[in-house]
Amino acid sequence: MTTAGLTPLALIAELTHRCPLHCVYCSNPQELEHRAGELSTEVWSRVFREAAEAGVLQADLTGGEPLARPDLVDLVRAARGSGLYVNLITSGLPLDEARLDTLVCEGLDHLQLSFQGAEEAAANEICGTNAHAQKLRVLGWLKERAVAVTLNFVIHRRNIDRVEDMLALAESSGAGRIEFANVQYYGWALANRESLLPSREQLDRCVEFLKRAQERLRGKIKIEFVVPDYYARYPKACMGGWGRKLMLIAPNGDALPCHAARVIPGLRFDNVKERSLREIWESSEAFQKFRGEEWMPEPCKSCDRREQDFGGCRCQALLLTGDAAATDPVCSLAPQRSKVDAILAAVNGAAAKSSANLGWIYRPNPT
């Protein structure tokens, strides 16, 4: 299909896969890029210019840990100088006050600080290192300087009963936004799914609590909540629809329609070192593959919701059914919904509730 009327609105710039954290639900692919394969400052700067020209409004600088790039200040300056809104998605780990001041001075608009929980030992277990205390320090620096910040808590079976503590931490921090994002099951998270997926009871309690909190804090703190889609009736509009709103640039320059797209066999990605961003957006095979409705099977093809959820998530379809073009199996109308129900039955069974931790698979830090 043509891209008429479609503009990429945000550029997700995965600057590096290097990261001092080892989170058990990391959204990076299992084959991590090494430092030697990362794009240079110059290429990234050109990508930001091309992005702004193509209509992109916001750059999300992420990783890995973007602070692992020694040239991060130059990248922030380049992105802001191109006219983009600059958002840094970070663990806050290799940050000090001087570097924070420089980043803000060069035009950083907003920072998303990730937390693994509100309780130090439990949070450190999830990221496989002692990170929590530094995150609290960073939060203090952000408050002192009145830097716009979103706190991001990734929610799962082990911490979902503690959302109250997380909200209290956020309320005391002066943050304007809080995200409670349930783990989505790709890559590292999929490998740890049995230890991460919450029970229905846990989820219901959490939803109820956050609904009341949203009401109480309206106009003060914006609370975003992402449910684990295994429990949803209809799939999420993954990435706002394939190739409709977002572009992700991997550390080596490959342009991907989403974080997990590499799991789909046979998908060919174009690289920003060889083609312009606009060319890639308009004609890259990977972006064209599931754009629009031509690829859709039934029941999506004739479904009233197809322009709301775009058939759900292609990577999830692949991971759970073996076919990237299948209806997202989390959909209650999907022919293969029984696969998701079986997973939920196991998690909600009496045995699962009392089970001990199965042991984590941590993501490594590439050199």
């Binding site: 409004l57 809104y85 907003h110 716009a148 304007g176 936004r177 106009g219």
Partner: protein, 104 residues
Amino acid sequence: MTPEPNSYPRLALGCRLNEKTQQPRVLHMPERALRLNGPSLEIIERCDGSHTVQNIVSELQQIYSKAEPQKVEQDILGYLTLLHDQRALDFVSGAAADKSREAK
């Protein structure tokens, strides 16, 4: 909530207009952006902490003098409330604004 007529709306932390030279004009907010047309841009350009809600209403009533003044006011108050609930606006109270001016 309805905004106080004497309060000063100001873009919240992390929210800003893009540059005048950029098209289309948008209000950047963390994680999203709002495309602005004529009246919404006129309103947001005045949310700079130096116009009261009342100032904004009267200035827009002048610009859109063909529209029903009461309708203009309602639309503005509705829009400001929406932006406030989205955490894009703070309302600085008249007293607080006077104080900060004195301090300068």
